[in-house]
Symmetry: C2
Subunit: 158 residues, 2 copies
DNA sequence: CTTGAAAAGAGCGGCCA
DNA sequence: TGGCCGCTCTTTTCAAG
């Protein structure tokens, strides 16, 4: 992972529709070595996959909710089942086990309040939880999948 | 946006490395109309872009933090500047203006505690804030960019 | 929408420095 | 390693049913 790899990742995190020819030119390499680097980054698992990013509003998903969960005391086995159940819910975009007062944090995306109410009921009915706090987003100011790469000028999109 | 478009989006949200030929076959269409639908979805902005998803651990980013911010009372102009400043920080993956007790929520990804400390100092030194709460993730259980599409069987990846 | 086909371009691999 | 030059396969566009 040298500086060239970081350049490649920076560009590919912003756009994969670009051709290898143009990518190679931008990082100052010819096509073949550039292509080989991409293959290597994929083989190493640095690049996990290539996906299309969909605009949630355009498909009717207008409500983002951050959910903090405190679990009641339970066995490791029980928590395992909880993790599987929550992971399987398609409204759950992100799901983290936390340190501190909150045990789990979710980011949930649904159509509207009514849809969130249904989600919430499914969540609490299936599993007994000590405390669930829902915080509702009014406005998405920033949302990115591109990580901050060391020493990379942020967002050389143009 | 009919059922076929939803199928296309479901597949493309999971993987864009697939060829049009295979995609067309999977949705039960021939190449030409399938390709036209994709073009239309991109023109409409339903598909925003195609990107590479990078594994954060593989590039040394091991710490995810959820940050809740309460701002002191300030003018709209001041909040505008705040939003721009925070959006420009590359460690900030997501940034929402919230309803209720918390004014803003961030999801921040950094290398480690030391890096978060630096981020935190930059955040609070530049702008006076009433309250900032950091919650640290121990484990990423689920993380996806694929939204729940209406009536789509979740994750027909295979 | 389908099939079929053709031109343009990209991915991919060998071989040499 | 990187660079050049092919071969092959897609993507993309066009007709006509």
């Amino acid at each position: 992972m040298d500086a060239v790899d970081i350049k490649i990742l920076t560009i590919l995190q912003a756009d994969t529709a670009i051709s290898i020819a143009e990518l190679a030119q931008r990082v100052g390499l010819s096509q073949t070595p550039c292509w080989k680097r991409i293959q290597r980054l994929e083989a190493q698992g640095v690049i996990e996959k290539r996906v299309a990013l969909v605009n949630p509003e355009k498909i009717g998903l207008g409500l983002t909710v951050f959910v903090s969960i405190e679990t009641a005391d339970h066995s490791g086995h029980w928590l395992q089942r909880f993790a599987e159940f929550v992971s399987a819910m398609p409204e759950v975009m992100e799901f983290y086990r936390m340190a501190g007062d909150v045990d789990y944090m979710l980011r949930v995306v649904v159509a509207d309040m009514a849809a969130y109410d249904l989600f919430y009921k499914r969540l609490i009915e299936t599993i007994p939880l000590k405390n669930v706090t829902s915080r509702f987003a009014m406005q998405r100011v920033k949302s990115t999948t591109a990580y901050a790469l060391p020493g990379a000028a942020p967002a050389l999109t143009a």
